[in-house]
Amino acid sequence: MGNDSSRKKFWNIIANIVTFKEEKCKEGFVLNDEGNESSEGKQNKNIYNVKTKNSRTNKVEGNDLKKPKQVHKTQGCRKKEKYDEGKSLVIEELFVEPNLKTNKEYLDKIYSLSKNKDIIIREFYIALDPPLQAFVLFIDGLCDKNIINGSILKPLMVLLEEVKEQDRKKVPIGGNIAEYIRTHLLPGHDVRILDKYRDILDNVNFGGTALFIEGSSKCLVVETKGWDRRTVGRPEAEQVIMGPHEAFNETLRSNTGLIRKALRNEKLITEMVKAGSRNNTDVGIMYLEDLANPKLVDEVKRRITSIKTDYVGAAGVLEQFIEEDPFMISPQVLTTERPDRVVSFLVEGHVAIIIDGGPQILVVPITLFSLLHSPEDYYLRMPYGNFLRLLRIAAIFIAMLTPGIYVSVVNFHQEMIPTELLLAIAASHVTVPYPTIFEVFAMEFSFELIREAGVRVPGVIGNTIGIVGGLILGQAAVQAGIISPILIIVIAVTGLASFAIPNYSLSFGLRGIRFVFTILAAIFGFFGISGGLFLLLISLVSMKSFGVPFLAPIAPKTRTEPDVVLRGPVWSMEERVDYLEPLDRHRQPEVSRGWIKKPRGGRKNEE
């Protein structure tokens, strides 16, 4: 029996490999495809709307206040259904009880208060006449204690004593006490009245302080976030000489603030969605409402909200969940730590995705050319910027092909090398007992090892690793006759070139593909390299990033301004890129330099 089933399984696998199956449109989204709105997208939109509705609990409060007793009764019934002693709670369906003790029991069970020592419940009396029992719930370490003391406890316990006796008698006791406290007693800038436990817990877990009051079926949640955070620092991976030196940190609000600071526009929208069923990370989606294509925004939301996993911890993880081709060498999402870079994409009609807890922000959609650009290209004058871009393009080819070309030339195309150089190479190779391909792989492997070790070891030793690896190891290898000296130069130049690529992920991809090219070159020489380039190009032109062809605007050719490989002067870029289908294509007038009366091109300033 066991043999039969395994044989059947084996034949099924074989049949799966050799038989044809109908293509499934994995991506299902093409930005410029008018009729491609999938039903799935619409469904997710509804889910999104539902989430938005859920957050509008303040509206419900008003209705509840009119009929407090009835509401309490209903909720009492819910309690019996949803909570019995010894049974687990269904938090999603749990509401605040007027009885303070019951609420405390709920929280005890939810937070396992006997074990959980950083969840604090502080009981006290609100100085009303008669005093009203209450407690606040917050998580130590996430909240600012000064706000809790000064803006919650002090007004309720101490300052209320100063309210005139006459006024105090007017204080309503019962259903609308929560509203009274919110409007009269709590000076916090963000105080919300909630009744669902799910909403309350989400707030408390994220630095809020919940105030439960005896006799009230509402809970007040005060915004008291105040955890230790890294200040806005300098970029680590995207340093520039000219331009801003600010980088994102791990706090979402701080990051959105940095973007808003640089892009002061009321049309800049920050939508929030959740990712990860366990960590419930906040993910911000930022875009300019009057510029970004609504279909693109919907698609971004659809992809993020459709993720079904328990933990999304950082931008790198989210990137893997939303990209189209996970096995391609190039990333399809741009990761940046620079606010100015994000802003430059937003004003083009791109969408930024900000995940709480990570200093990297994702930008979609992107093309290969945007991965090759550096912010500094724009901050420098055009000729200097273009020089840097040319240098970088050369670096890509050097990083990808140099070891392969070296292997090809030495093994197959020796006639290309001038005789003196050929003799020098041959002489240096005489003492080396291995074939060239072995030498190249040994050195490439050592180089990658040095790079990885340099990243992992603590900072001070990291520099030492670089010196030891780069100088001593290389020189010793040459002197020992294991490696030829010319190869050291080849590997060093290749390594330098790979670090000149501005995008970290793309740099990784190119370093990986370099090994493939080296193998192809070792087997087929230039023929192998040519074949490899052909297949690489075929795969790159087939890629898409959020429905945008990866090599746009060159392939497919679309309308664009001079800012693809090289860039023109900033005043000549009048239109936005076509492939994003922005709502407004016009960036600036034909003559953007208002001070020019008669430009060299003959176009006159109309003003």
Binding site: F20, M416, V541
Partner: protein
């Protein structure tokens, strides 16, 4: 579910230019020199002109059947039996051409770069790469062609310019070479060299633009390639005298080998070999794709991808059938002499009959 395909005018024009132009890297310059002697370039010029006229005629007729491929027109005109037979003839021709090209490319790689590699290995590598590219589809192939086009053109121009120290204008005289009659006859036969332009008629349903643009794309390709063919043949004859040039198997390789600009810039043919190997990959992929599409349309199948393994195997086997390179070159010469019957005359005949029937119906 069929994914939508987006191909622009520029992509199509460059792809067809590369399809036609790849012959420059094979035996075409030698063949026209053989036929026209010192007037080889005049044959190229007139062949281009005749091809252009025929293409304009064919594309004008094609415009009467919007968004219909030639395969579909053939079947609707001649009925399912004769139509299918005619389409199978075209498919067979395309398979033979592509398999012969595959063999020639492999042989040329052996001559130019990998002298000790068995031909079967290179043929296998070529067909596997072409399979992958054809699997990705015309969108990927045409976009790759468009991106690589400037580099290929630049490499050809570089070879032609870098040979300037060897230009000898006397070698292209007498101007009329083998004689006016011979030039006239061979110019007509030489239109086979531009036959790839007809591929546009078989994949017309993939294009987003109208037939007018298809006509322009074909015309652009023919004119551009004529200019380059003529320039290559002229330089070839100026650098190598006629007796030598009719003996060279791979003329363009010989030209790039002749470059010698000082001590440090010589024997750089391997770099140029890289570029034209790239064009070989493109040509084979596109040839394989179009052959598969013709077969798919003939049999009215919903997908072309399942056909690729079988057609690849067919092309691979046929490419290994010739005993040696000389036999392959001989087949290429036969294609040069009679290929126009399938590439120009047959489509013209089909379209004329289709138009007559259409008029009668109206």
């Amino acid at each position: 579910m069929k994914n939508k395909v987006y191909i622009g005018y520029s992509e199509v024009a460059t792809l067809i230019s590369i399809m036609i132009g790849t012959k420059a890297f094979l035996g075409y310059p030698r063949l026209v020199t053989q036929l026209g002697m010192t007037a080889g370039w005049i044959i190229v010029f007139f062949s281009g002109l005749i091809s252009l006229c025929l293409w304009l005629l064919i594309s004008s007729f094609l415009a009467c059947f919007p968004k219909k491929s030639l395969t579909a027109i053939t079947e609707s005109t001649f009925g399912s039996i004769i139509g299918t037979v005619l389409n199978i003839v075209v498919f067979t021709f395309s398979i033979l051409v592509i398999s012969n090209s595959l063999r020639i490319f492999s042989e040329v790689v052996i001559i130019t770069a990998l002298t000790e590699t068995p031909v079967i290995v290179l043929t296998l590598v070529f067909i596997l790469a072409a399979w992958i590219a054809a699997y990705y589809g015309i969108e990927a192939i045409s976009r790759s062609a468009y991106i690589s086009f400037p580099f290929i053109i630049a490499s050809v121009i570089a070879v032609l310019i870098l040979l300037y120290p060897y230009y000898d204008f006397k070698q292209i005289t007498p101007i009329w070479g083998s004689g006016i009659l011979s030039i006239g006859k061979n110019s007509f036969l030489g239109i086979s060299a531009f036959g790839e332009v007809i591929l546009l008629c078989y994949i017309i349903h993939y294009f987003q633009f109208d037939v007018k643009k298809v006509k322009q794309a074909g015309a652009f390709s023919i004119i551009l390639v004529t200019i380059f063919f003529a320039a290559i043949v002229i330089v070839y004859q100026m650098v190598l005298p006629v007796p030598t040039s009719i003996e060279t198997l791979v003329p363009f390789y010989q030209l790039s080998r002749s470059i010698n600009l000082g001590h440090y810039f010589q024997r750089v043919e391997s770099i140029f070999v890289m570029f034209w190997i790239f064009t070989a990959f493109l040509r084979l992929s596109m040839g394989l794709f179009v052959s598969t599409i013709i077969f798919q349309d003939t049999l009215k199948l919903p997908y072309y991808r399942p056909l690729l393994p079988a057609i690849c195997l067919l092309v691979f086997s046929l490419s290994l059938t010739p005993a040696d390179m000389m036999q392959t070159v001989m087949y290429e010469d036969i294609k040069f002499n009679y290929g126009w019957l399938v590439t120009f005359v047959l489509p013209l005949f089909i379209l004329v009959v289709a138009l007559i029937l259409k008029r009668k119906e109206e």
